[in-house]
């Protein structure tokens, strides 16, 4: 382990909190956010201001809490009984962990795409339509499904088999269907948890292209193990590392270019250059 000297979080907050030359608007901000599984502190004191309409990548070694942080942004961690979260996560100025906030509301506005494609065992059409229907969509469903599938660059491939099972699609198509399903409910932020790690290189490239197109309209936060991927697609990169107590920390958060060419922390550089993890 090379990452040991980064502990005083005060100093880090000042330098790490947000990319220095970021745009004006922030989509979501974590303030001194810590996550506990029971007594175990999985991630400590994360301060992170994620800029709007950009792609932010979260990288780091296994077990550093990347996915945990991502899931905090739409309260998916609430589904695990033993999880406790301290600090605040501000979404449009509102702490989504405040007592009067319903996570169901949060999750429609902050969507999620998972590591393994997980379409519902229903038709392709129903996969896209279901989320909007339960959220009270009243418009033209056919048109909405087509729009979502076009946005996910899947329409041309599935337009003739909308009534077939989604489980018959290839892995890459399934993942794009999951993206279509997520954007159908018109979220403001899309969280992606290693969306391409289960896919072959060609399908991965298509997903990456898609993410770039989507970032015009949506804020995207993507967790990835693949540093080339982070460098290729993201505007900003957050590097997480893990200390001796196996607690994750945000080490550095900056322009992707800066992180990959001239990181300000040594542990970031070690990780980027492959001397760590």
């Amino acid at each position: 382990m090379t990452v040991t000297l980064e502990r005083p979080s005060q100093t880090r907050t000042e330098t790490v909190g947000s990319p220095p030359n970021g745009p004006v608007g922030n989509a979501i901000e974590a303030e001194k956010m810590s996550v506990f599984y029971g007594d175990f502190c999985a991630v400590r004191d994360v301060d992170m201001k994620v800029p709007s309409n950009k792609i932010t990548a979260i990288i780091g070694p296994s077990g550093c809490g990347k996915s945990t942080v991502l899931r905090c942004f739409n309260r998916m961690n609430d589904l695990i009984a033993s999880v406790r979260i301290e600090g605040e996560v501000l979404f449009q100025g509102q702490n989504i962990y405040a007592g009067d906030v319903d996570p169901v509301e949060v999750r429609r506005r902050i969507g999620m795409v998972f590591q393994k494609p997980n379409p519902f065992p229903k038709t392709i059409y129903e996969n896209v339509a279901w989320g909007t229907r339960i959220n009270g969509f009243r418009g033209d469903m056919d048109e909405m499904v087509e729009r979502a599938l076009r946005s996910a660059a899947l329409w041309e491939e599935v337009k003739d088999k909308l009534q077939q099972s989604a489980l018959g699609l290839s892995g890459g198509q399934q993942q794009r269907l999951c993206i279509a399903r997520a954007i159908a409910v018109e979220p403001e932020i899309i969280l992606m948890d290693e969306p391409a790690s289960a896919l072959d290189p060609i399908a991965t490239l298509r997903i990456e292209d898609l993410m770039k197109e989507l970032s015009v309209k949506y804020t995207i936060i993507v967790v990835t193990h693949n540093m080339q991927q982070a460098a290729r697609i993201s505007d900003y990169t957050a590097f997480f590392s893990v200390d001796d107590n196996r607690t994750g920390n945000l080490i550095e958060f900056d322009d992707t270019e800066k992180i990959f060419t001239n990181p300000s922390r040594k542990s970031t550089e070690d990780y980027i250059t492959g001397r760590f993890g």
Partner: protein, 430 residues
């Protein structure tokens, strides 16, 4: 690869793993052990199949075979002007009946249903029952009847001279369509079939919704670490193993005795209160429902647990509520498993005898159940009752009733499997 090994481990004596011939022998020995186990398992399966075949053959042996029958009056003697009994018009049949039975009995028949309204077949049956009065003298099994036909006839001639010997299937349409009777030749299982269907219907209506609901609660809502929930879970698992007669005692105490006002139908002012008390179909159905409830809960829980978590997360990620996720995704995915568990549980309920003996199924009842508050009997009770009779003929009846029970069970199972498959298919497409 072998070369590489030699380079890293230079001396054979140092190796910890066998190599070459020793390795080959070791693999052969391991494979042999595996084959021996496979043979043991095959033998176990064969033993099971042999036992099942023996059971089936035994039942078939008793269900069909020769019977020796002696008629009190030969039907030929009843012929009028050379026209045999079974071709006579109704008027002649009524006359024959009147001439051969007591006036009191004739009045009773007239009182039940006036002869003017009775069909020709009905009067014909009455003559067979009261005038011809066939009596079974002896019965033979199916195998004797096929393979030792001559000795069957010889024995019948010797022991029952003048008897009619003919091949009889005890499982006939009239066996299914007639109600209980003390005459083995006229006894049927209609009452018991209706009783079984009624009881099973109530069992399913009671235990399926409650069982699935409990399974949903325990899997989806309950905090598994909480002591109370762990206690509940352990108790459900143990209840599944409680002997069924204990459930019978429970049903007797609660449904028959304490809740008699409701289970007898008295609170609605219906039901036969003088005889039924709480020993009604609804008591039996609820008792069996309690009996299979743990099975349905456990199977339901397993089916719900088998639904991949990624499906739930997908639903939650779109902003669905917990209930929407359960209703739209968890339950449809779990339903085939839930139904399989229910099929198994209901099959057990159909065959249960002991708890119903305690709850008070009627052993002799000729009246079809008219609703949930009627007295009842069910097929296993009927079978049990027939096998405990001293006369041989009733054992033939019991064998035939077992066949009916098996057919009923298989057809109920088949329909449930079809239902489940339809669920599976529609889910794969939709």
């Amino acid at each position: 690869m072998a070369v590489h090994q030699r380079q890293t481990v230079p001396q054979a004596a140092d190796r910890l793993m066998p190599s070459g011939a020793a390795h080959h022998e070791q693999v052969v020995a391991r494979q042999r052990r595996g084959r021996i186990w496979a043979i043991v398992f095959q033998a176990a399966m064969l033993a099971g199949i042999v036992a099942l075949c023996a059971l089936l053959l035994n039942i078939l042996n008793q269900s069909f075979g020769y019977v020796a029958i002696v008629n009190t009056i030969d039907p030929a003697e009843l012929a009028v002007d050379g026209v045999p009994l079974n071709e006579l018009p109704k008027e002649n049949l009524v006359e024959i009946l009147e001439a051969n039975i007591s006036a009191g009995l004739m009045r009773r028949y007239e009182h039940d249903i006036p002869f003017a309204e009775r069909s020709r077949e009905n009067v014909h049956d009455l003559i067979l029952e009261r005038v011809v009065e066939p009596q079974v003298q002896a019965t033979w099994g199916l195998f004797d009847s096929i393979f030792a036909r001559d000795s069957v006839f010889a024995e019948a001639d010797e022991r029952f001279p003048g008897s009619d010997v003919y091949f009889r299937s005890w499982l006939t349409t009239s066996f299914i369509s007639k109600s209980q009777s003390s005459e083995p030749l006229r006894a049927g299982v209609r009452t018991a079939i209706f009783g079984s269907l009624w009881v099973v219907a109530i069992t399913i209506l009671f235990s399926f919704p409650i069982g699935v609901g409990a399974a949903i609660y325990l899997e989806e809502y309950a905090h598994k670490e909480r002591l109370l929930n762990r206690l509940i879970q352990t108790n459900i698992n143990n209840l599944a193993g409680v002997p069924s007669i204990i459930y019978g005692m429970l049903g007797l105490a609660i449904f028959v005795r304490i809740l008699e006002l409701f289970t007898s139908g008295a609170f609605l002012g219906i039901g036969d209160q003088s005889t039924a008390n709480g020993r009604t179909i609804i008591s039996a159905g609820l008792t069996l429902g309690l009996l299979i409830l743990p099975l349905i809960i456990i199977n339901g829980q397993e089916a719900i647990r088998a639904v991949p978590n990624s499906l739930r997360q997908a639903g939650f990620g779109l902003g669905a509520t917990h209930w929407q996720v359960i209703w739209h995704h968890v339950l449809p995915s779990a339903m085939p498993g839930v139904l399989t568990g229910t099929i198994l549980a209901v099959s057990r309920a159909i065959g249960e005898t002991a708890p119903l003996v305690v709850v008070g199924a009627s052993t002799f009842i000729a009246l079809d159940p008219s609703g949930p508050f009627s007295k009842f009997t069910v097929l296993p009770i009927q079978i049990y009752q027939w096998t405990s009779r001293p006369q041989d003929e009733f054992r033939n009846l019991a064998a035939a009733a077992i066949l009916v029970l098996l057919i009923l069970l298989l057809s109920l199972n088949a329909s449930a499997v079809l239902l489940r498959n339809r669920f599976d298919r529609s889910r794969a497409i939709a």
